[in-house]
Amino acid sequence: MEKSGSSDGIKYGALTNYWLSGLTVGFLGLAIFFVISSKKKSVSQPNIALVDKKFLETTPWRQTYADLVKAKEDLSDYDCYGCHDKAKPPLIRFDSNQKLIIPKEHANIQMAHGAHERNNLCYNCHNEQNLLTLQVRDERNIKFDNIPQLCGSCHGPTYRDWDAGAHGRTSGYWDRSLGNSTRLSCANCHNPHAPHIPTREPAPGPHSLHQDSTHHERAEALH
């Protein structure tokens, strides 16, 4: 053993010194390891961009006449007698294939209603006596803001489902005692002249944690 070299009188053996120096080296090594390992992330996280806001929209696809009135929008498109003559219902013309000829003033209309686009007679729905209203086959006149009545005159089961809340969009409160709910009208989703829902761009698919190039090819192959 050795004699004390310090003023506090504690004695240290050579063995203790070896231990102390060994521990110091060990701790320093650990410290360097922890500092380095805390800097880098253990899981490489892919940088996933936020989804485009258009995919979070809850607004309906289309606006109906009633919506336009409510929003005080430009209603000049609905001013039929600005061009047409009240006493003279406009004529409907067909080409040699029995396909409806759409006049150039109404070129924005695309007709695709019914199987093989057979519901192409304007006055099946529009009222030729008063273009500002619609008509059903039993000659009832229907206003533009009451379209479900018109659509329902042909699409009975769908109207029944819509009326019960099973067809179409409902939003707001499921508990009617706590708040209001709104049920969208037919033309909020369907274009009356071409009611089939058009195809759309889907929102991006899921990203897996360890996504690589082979994953993408596999997804393609599954198609």
């Binding site: 102390l20 110091t24 650990l30 805390s38 929102a203």
Partner: protein
């Protein structure tokens, strides 16, 4: 570093001997190394505190305990995201049992529900956690093994396919609840199977037990973009989760238990999603189950009896 065998150079009256210098170095090095080795614990300080550690089981919390817990959660969220949230502990309503129905004829596979859900329920953006999975399935088969959820078509729906979104089915007989070793997940009386994120130990038994792949695990600390944080939160619902706990669809507790429709239903552009109280014969969900061609509960043969129904129009 070695102690010298020679003691002749020792000067006991010196202000600092070689030995005391070395000892000081060793002590300083040791202390700083210890401090550095504890540094990773600093990252945990956001989550682990004595208050949370000593928190009682959800069902044993008194209203005053709950007030404290909610104050703690609101403080934690504000510290992390800079937004003061409105956290509530919403209880199931009397005479209400929720049922979901999804119209497979209408669904176009646009995945809007997936992303509306992520935003509403504060799911992690990266790594990505999503509760809803939309399967693209070939016509003529109900075999989910033939489904593909990675489709990246330019336009949907594609001819010859139908789309089947799958999320938590809120089973009447939930296998996930049975396997939980700590009762951190249970079925409430309105039919929603909930998770207490403060009680979950992250063993992932429930994930393995679920036949619908509805449960998600937070492998890392969730990364919720601040701009998309929804401050309207519920304790058993969409409050931010921490690393190492499970989460899943809870029918938007923060919305449905105050009478609103879930977020996935609100955003559905074709009205394929229907939700309501099955105990109310006047509700649209009762009408659908009574009148429509409701054809399945997914995997009904395994006896989980989901509260999520798929139906057709024609």
């Amino acid at each position: 570093m070695n102690s010298s065998p020679s003691y002749t150079d020792k000067t006991s009256d010196a202000a600092m001997s070689r030995r005391s210098f070395l000892r000081g170095c060793a002590a300083f090095g040791g202390v700083s190394a210890l401090a550095a080795s504890l540094a990773p614990l600093r990252e945990l300080s956001d989550y682990t505190n004595t208050e949370q550690f000593l928190q009682k089981y959800y069902k044993e919390l008194t209203p005053s305990d709950m007030t404290k817990v909610i104050a703690r959660i609101e403080g934690e969220v504000e510290r992390q995201y800079g937004i003061r949230p409105h956290v509530r502990d919403l209880k199931p309503m009397d005479g209400v049992e929720f049922v979901y129905a999804l119209n497979l004829t209408r669904c176009i596979g646009c995945r809007k529900c997936v992303h509306a859900c992520v935003k509403e329920n504060n799911q992690s953006g990266s790594p990505e956690i999503q509760y809803i999975r939309v399967l693209k399935m070939p016509h003529g088969s109900m075999d989910v093994e033939k489904g593909n959820h990675n489709y990246d078509d330019k336009q949907v729906p594609e001819k010859g396919f139908f789309y089947m979104p799958i999320q938590c089915q809120q089973c009447k007989n939930p296998p996930c609840v049975k396997v939980c070793p700590v009762n951190a997940t249970w079925q409430e009386k309105d039919g929603i199977t909930v998770i207490d994120y403060d009680w979950c130990i992250g063993c992932r038994y429930c994930e393995a037990a679920c036949p619908y792949w509805a449960r998600r695990f937070n492998f890392t600390k969730p990364d919720i973009p601040k701009v998309r944080l929804n401050p309207d939160m519920a304790y058993l619902g969409n409050r931010p989760r921490k690393q190492g706990v499970m989460e899943k669809c809870h029918f938007c507790i923060q919305r449905t238990r105050v009478g609103k429709y879930p977020a996935c239903l609100e955003v559905c552009p074709v009205g394929a999603r229907k939700f309501g109280n099955i105990l109310d014969p006047e509700s649209e969900i009762s009408y659908i189950l009574r009148e429509k061609r409701v054809f399945i509960q997914l995997k009904e043969e395994i006896g989980t009896s989901p509260r999520f129904f798929y139906y057709f129009d024609k």
